[in-house]
Symmetry: C2
């Protein structure tokens, strides 16, 4: 399966192996003997090294031919690094500065050498620790709008879009993870599932018996599989965002694939809402995290508002693709026809996003890959109480996604669930 | 642009050039000196030869590097032959006997050698001449259900589906024709457009000023471009069907691409409805074609019914793909959950189909490529009267596609328009 010559890096070998690359030597300064390497891959899939030299630092991320979390019993193609690289390059072009700069890519070694974000932390950690990030919602909403709009037939030449559609269609193995672990496994007693037990058992049984919920979840899966609107990040949760104060970047787009625009937006909002529901589990005294919870809900709301704002701005100024061409609307003096189309497109993205938001909540609590937000709550009674709120909110969002109208209603619903199931 | 060695065939050269192929020699019998060739390409894009030998006949279809209808000022990639070949092979596997058998394919020559359908005529010609075809609706409904279901994530292994998605995503040039000429050009005063003038001028102006209609048309275009549910034929009108009595085949899938299931179904129904509206233009005495018109409407209705029947049967027995897996429904004793999902999927296909049906009507009357059904009506006043009914029906279907519930309502609407605008 692995390309000939592929060899995993180690803290012992990484300096010597990267030394011949001018992009590396130049940024680190000195020679390989002056460099130190630390392995910091805390994710599920890859090796990640920080290299430090006299002049600077950088990241070397190398895919392993199996799922690190599970071991070599679960092989996973190295080729995912190729998709991650291609997504990083496109994200950088569409929203400059939004992702780490790529210094070097080696397809055979499944290796990306890229910018080290000095001082940045994974956003999820800060949401657990109660650290506010002003500007984060603005950044994330804008990132979604730009990367999605500009990779779609709204803002990209169609022959290039179709070439990219074909390129990322080969990202089969990682899509399979999403298709199975996100959309299907949480809704039946799949072998890889786990949940906080026995506390959640009755609610889990209720969800898995809910026929309407399971039909909706598969409608959403169908949209994820078929509706190739835009290049998705594909795994845009708060663990894929690094932030420092007002600055942030998005990392780890190895799940990149063409899919529905609402997927990235919905997953992002979902992880903020779960962080909100996890707050009571992190507080030392009752109510200690109330203000931070308010901030999280406000940020979740603002993600959508900034997304819609930026999407609308792009619609009005950079709609150069084949869809909704101005010659049918603005050029005929029918500006409101263009605005009508925009309103209806945003409504469709919103409806999708609410559905994906709900599914993401379920899979993070019932499936294989859980959230640190909840996992960090050691007391399982407290954790289950927090998780149950997100499970209920997720079901409600999936069911009402065609009717619920805005983040105000979503936040009110999240708070109502707090009160109703305190 | 053309591959090295590509050379168009002619009636003089085709026998000698195909003689070395065993599949050809064996079917025709004798030698090339015994074979006669006739060029019968009446379409817009290709050379089509009938070769006749002592033992049998066959078709040799070769793409030209330009649009035959327009000339070499409009280049069109030979590669479309590759997509046609790939679609034919898949259609044959998914609905055996539904397409001509392919004997030989030569990618460099953009040449498909295939079965000659003895005695079969283009269905559109028979609908103009008043010839009924019992069983045609059954055949066409089943063809759509099988080719669409079995090329989707409902009935096909996903890695193979994604490989096919990528393969057909390269069919950029022919998709561009659909994207531009079907969904956009009819709705503004595009240079290639034509319509029966001056009779239709006021109605055409009304349609092109209809903001809601133009927004809906682009929503449908967006679905065509992005919603890669299944492998479409892509040009499934009555000119792409050959019939003889109760037997029929589908030809010319060179527009094949992954798209929304409703596209093929809607285009097909649309061409039956246009044939219905064209009947008064073909009759020698008023009412002479009334009974045949009734037959056409019944056939249009039956296409949908047979499609839904076959799709439902496949859903219940061959749903082996990743979507709506039985382990969530039937295996949990929730058969009605599976039926609910089926009902909702069919409803979504129906809503799409009604929209595509309306757009097809508009582009066939206002765009570049017109229907022989209307074109054969020499008297422009009579022709315009027929066309106006289809234009109105098309707009109504596009506008009410989310509410109209079945072919009974569609047929009643078609008749109501006859009465209201006699």
């Amino acid at each position: 399966m692995s390309p000939e010559g592929y060899a995993p890096l180690s803290t012992e070998t990484v300096a010597a192996r990267l030394a011949p690359l001018p992009a590396v030597a130049q940024r680190l300064g000195g020679g390989p003997a002056d460099w130190t390497a630390a392995e910091v891959g805390d994710g599920n899939l890859n090796l990640v090294f920080i290299l430090t030299g006299p002049k600077g630092q950088l990241i070397a991320k190398q895919a392993l031919p199996y799922v690190r979390l599970v071991g070599d019993s679960w092989p996973l193609p190295l080729e995912r690094s190729w998709f991650e690289y291609n997504a990083l390059v496109r994200h950088a072009a569409r929203d400059p500065g939004s992702v780490p700069e790529v210094y070097h890519f080696d397809r055979d070694q499944a290796l990306i050498v890229m910018e080290f974000m000095t001082g940045h932390r994974i956003l999820r950690r800060d949401l657990i620790d109660g650290v506010e990030h002003p500007g984060i919602a603005d950044f994330l909403g804008r990132f979604c709008a730009r990367t999605l709009f500009l990779s779609s037939d709204l803002g990209m030449p169609t022959p290039e879009r179709k070439a990219d559609l074909a390129l990322f269609a080969a990202n089969v193995a990682l899509c399979d993870i999403t298709e199975s672990l996100v959309f299907t496994d949480p809704y039946w007693d799949a072998p890889l599932n786990r949940h906080t037990s026995p506390q959640l058992d009755p609610l889990v049984a209720e969800l898995r018996a809910d026929a309407v919920l399971k039909v909706e979840a598969q409608h959403l899966k169908s949209a994820f599989c078929a509706n190739a609107e835009a290049l998705l990040h594909g795994d845009l949760h708060t663990g894929s965002v690094m932030a420092l104060g007002e600055h942030a970047v998005v990392i780890d787009p190895e799940f990149a694939v063409y899919g529905p625009m609402g997927f990235d937006v919905g997953m992002l909002i979902s992880n903020f809402l779960m962080a909100y529901h996890a707050q009571p589990g992190h507080e030392s005294t009752p109510g200690a995290r109330a203000a931070f919870g308010d901030w999280i809900l406000a940020a979740a709301s603002d993600i959508w508002l900034h997304f819609a704002d930026e999407f609308s701005a792009l619609w009005r100024t950079q709609r150069t693709g084949i869809l909704y061409p101005p010659k049918l609307y603005e050029d005929q003096g029918q500006i409101l026809a263009s605005e009508q189309a925009l309103t209806e497109r945003l409504a469709a993205i919103w409806t999708d996003a609410m559905g994906f938001c709900g599914v993401e909540m379920h899979r993070r609590i019932l499936g294989l890959a859980h959230n640190a937000d909840f996992e960090a709550i050691a007391d399982t009674d407290r954790r289950a109480a927090c998780e149950a709120r997100s499970l209920r909110l997720g079901r409600q969002l999936i069911r009402t996604r065609r009717s619920i109208r805005g983040m105000d209603e979503v936040c009110a619903l999240a708070r109502r669930i707090d009160e109703g199931f305190a």
